[in-house]
Amino acid sequence: MSILIDQHTKLIVQGITGREGSYHTEQMLQYGTKVVGGVTPGKGGQEVCGVPVFNTVREAMSATGADATVIFVPARFMKDSVLEAIDAGMKMIFTIAEHVPVHDMMYCYHLAKARGVKLFGPNSFGVISPGKTKAGFMAGYFFSEGNVGVMSRSATNCYETVKMLTDNGIGQSTCVGVGGDMIPGTTFVELLPDFEADPDTKAIVIIGEIGGSEEELAAAYIKEHVTKPVVALIAGKNAPKGRSMGHAGAIVSADGTGSAEHKEKALREAGVYCADSTQHIVDILLQLKKEGRL
C-alpha cells in the first residue's frame, strides 16, 4: 500500500499547456500516473499528450471524476489556482512553484484547512508512491517500491537519500515533498498518522531543516502515537544564521525553537534515530533491516 495517492488516483494538471506542465504530464503518464485531464483557461478542447484540456477545474472534474490536482503554474498565479481547485471541490492539491508569496500561501492554507482539503507544497517536488503513481516533477527512476515512508522539506536531500536507499535494496512506500517554504500546506505531523496506519510502511524517514517548529511538533506526536521506527535528519546545522527579523524573530524563538540542536533533542527524546547525513539515514535503515525490523 501507500499513502495519499496510488494507481487508482485520477489526477488533473493545472497549467497543463505550459512548458513545465506539458513536459511533466508526459513524464507522469510514462510513469503510469492516471492523468485524466488538464486545465488552462482559453485552451479548453485541446489535448496535451492525448489528455483533454479544460477551461476550468470544475469542468475538468465533472468530465473526468478527478480526485487530485497538481498545479504547474508560476508562483504569482498559484493562489488563484488553489482557490479555484478548492472551490470546485477538489480534496487533494499539490503545489510545486518556488517563490510563492507567503501571504498567498497563508490564505490558501487556512481555507484548505477550513474546507477539509489536503494541500501540499509549495516549493515541493510533489508526492510519489513508487511503482504506482507520481504527482510532481521528481525523476521517477531512482525511486523503488518498498516499505519506507519518506517525507522531506528538501527535494535534493530527498533524492540523495532515496537513490542510496534504492541502490541498497530498500524501497519506499510513499515519498512526500512537504516543501521548503515558511508555510507548507501539510507538515510532518499531519502525515505521521497516515504512515503509522499504512500496513506497508515499516519505517518512517523525516528529512527536516533548521527553522520553524515542524520537527518539534512531529517529535511530540511520535512520542505518544508512533510505534514504527523513525529516522530523522536535520540539515543546516552549520548554515549561516539568518539575520534576525527585527526583535520579533528573536522573541518568538527565545526558547531555541528552530535550531538544529533543539530539534534533535526533541526527536531523540521521542525515540527517533537522528542521522547526521543522508548517507547515515541509509546506514541506520540497513541496520534496522539487519535486525529484521524492516
Binding site: 521548503g180 540539515a235 518568538v252
Partner: protein, 387 residues
C-alpha cells in the same frame, strides 16, 4: 526586503500611524532647509539610515538641541560607515519629550500558527529581547485569524494582560487596525514599532519602525521595487549572482571552500559535512533547477572570484538540472581563465555519463570527479593543506 526606517515611516504616514514629524536628507548643506520645510522644532534626533540592529549603541542616533549641533551630527554621520554599512541618508525627527512609558508592538507572520501574530509588551525599548528570555510573561502574543482580522477585544486583551490602563483601548485598536492593514497590503513578514511611546499627552506614538517585506511579493509592490533598486547590496557578489537568478550566501568569513548545488537542502548538507570535518565554507551558491551551461559558467566565475576561496565543490543531483550542461559550463569556466583553484565535482542524475566524459576531457585544471557526497568531503579533506 527590509525597509530602512525612513521608508517604513513613509508607509506609517500613508496608513496614518502616528509618528514624530521628520525629514530625510542626503546632503548636509540642505539640512536647515529640509528642517524648515518639514516645520520641525528643536530638539531633534538625527538617525543614520542603515539596516543594522543596535544602531543607537553603534553611535548612529544622535540628539541635537540646536541647528548648529544638528549640522555637526549630520556632517559626522552622513557618508560615514556604521559596522561596515555606508550611511547615505539621515532621518531627522523631532525629539519626543516627557514620555510616560515605552511599549513594544509588532505584527509578524508566525510559522507555528501560520497566522499573523501580535507581540506586545509594556517593557519596550532596547532590552526587549532580554525581557523575552528572562521574563517571558511580560511578552504577550496574540494570533490573528486571517479570516477574522483585528477586533477591539484584542486591544483590550493586550492592555489587560500587560497591566496597562484600558483607557488606551480605542487608540491601540485604531493603531492595530492600521498596522494590520499595512501588514496585509504590503505582504509583510514583520511590522515592528519599538519603542511605541505613550507621550505626555497620553497619545501612542511610534518612535521607530521596522518593516520586512516578503521578497516573493515584490512583483506586485512597485513602490517597494523602486526602493529596493536604490539599496546597496551588502555583498556585490550577492547582486551579481542574483542577476543570473542564483542565490549567493556568504557563510564564514575565514572559509576557503565555496560550494554550489542545485538545491538549498543539498547545500546545507554539504556545509554540515564539511564543517564536521573541521574545514570552513566561505560561500554557497544555489543554482536552483535547470541551470544551463552558460549560467553554470557564470556561477563558477562568481565562486572563483570570491576572495579567499581555494576550492570549489560542485554537488549536483540532477532531475531538471542536466549533468551534461553542468559539465560543459564547468569546462567553459576553467578554459576561460587559468584557475589555480581545486575543483571537486560530483554529479548524479540526468545525462550523468555524458557529463563525466566531458569532465574527464578537461585539460590543465586541478579537477577531481567523485561519486558521492561523502567522497566530496573526503576529496577536500585530502587536500586540506592547500585550503
Amino acid at each position: 526586503m527590509k525597509l530602512l526606517e525612513y521608508k517604513a515611516k513613509e508607509l506609517f504616514d500613508k496608513y496614518h500611524v502616528p509618528t514624530m514629524r521628520g525629514c530625510v536628507i542626503d546632503s548636509s548643506e540642505h539640512m536647515e532647509e529640509a528642517i524648515d520645510q518639514a516645520g520641525l522644532t528643536y530638539p531633534v534626533v538625527v538617525k543614520a539610515q542603515v539596516q543594522i540592529g543596535g544602531r543607537g549603541k553603534a553611535g548612529g542616533i544622535r540628539f541635537a538641541d540646536t541647528a548648529a549641533e544638528a549640522k555637526q551630527h549630520c556632517e559626522a554621520l552622513l557618508f560615514s560607515e556604521l559596522r561596515g554599512y555606508k550611511v547615505n541618508q539621515l532621518l531627522i525627527v523631532e525629539k519626543a519629550q516627557n514620555n510616560k512609558t515605552e511599549l513594544y508592538l509588532s505584527i509578524m507572520l508566525d510559522r507555528l500558527t501560520k497566522c499573523p501574530m501580535i507581540i506586545f509588551s509594556a517593557n519596550g525599548g532596547m532590552e526587549i529581547e532580554q525581557t523575552a528570555k528572562e521574563d517571558p510573561d511580560k511578552i504577550i502574543k496574540l494570533t490573528i485569524d486571517p479570516f477574522v482580522g483585528v477586533k477591539d477585544y484584542m486591544a483590550a486583551y493586550l492592555l489587560s494582560r500587560a497591566g496597562l490602563d484600558l483607557s488606551y483601548k480605542k487608540q491601540l485598536f485604531d493603531l492595530l487596525k492600521k498596522l494590520y492593514q499595512a501588514f496585509m497590503d504590503y505582504s509583510c513578514m514583520l511590522v515592528e514599532i519599538n519603542p511605541l511611546v505613550i507621550d505626555a499627552n497620553d497619545r501612542l506614538v511610534a518612535l521607530d519602525g521596522k518593516i520586512d517585506i516578503d521578497d516573493s511579493a515584490l512583483f506586485r509592490l512597485p513602490d517597494i521595487q523602486e526602493f529596493a533598486q536604490k539599496m546597496q547590496p551588502d555583498n556585490p557578489l550577492i547582486k551579481e549572482a542574483a542577476d543570473y537568478n542564483f542565490l549567493y550566501i556568504p557563510v564564514e568569513d575565514e572559509g576557503s571552500i565555496a560550494v554550489t548545488s542545485n538545491g538549498s537542502g543539498m547545500l546545507m548538507s554539504c556545509i554540515d559535512l564539511i564543517s564536521k570535518e573541521g574545514m570552513k565554507v566561505k560561500a554557497a551558491l544555489d543554482l536552483g533547477g535547470g541551470a544551463t551551461a552558460d549560467r553554470i559558467k557564470e556561477a563558477m566565475r562568481i565562486l572563483f572570484s570570491t576572495p579567499g576561496v581555494k576550492a570549489v565543490l560542485i554537488n549536483i543531483f540532477g532531475g531538471i538540472t542536466r549533468c551534461d550542461e553542468v559539465a560543459n559550463g564547468v569546462k567553459m569556466a576553467l578554459e576561460a581563465e587559468h584557475s589555480d583553484k581545486i575543483v571537486v565535482i560530483r554529479m548524479e542524475g540526468t545525462n550523468k555519463e555524458i557529463g563525466l566524459t566531458t569532465i574527464a576531457g578537461i585539460q590543465n585544471a586541478d579537477i577531481v570527479s567523485v561519486p558521492g557526497l561523502r567522497e566530496c568531503v573526503k576529496a577536500l579533506a585530502d587536500r586540506r593543506d592547500r585550503l
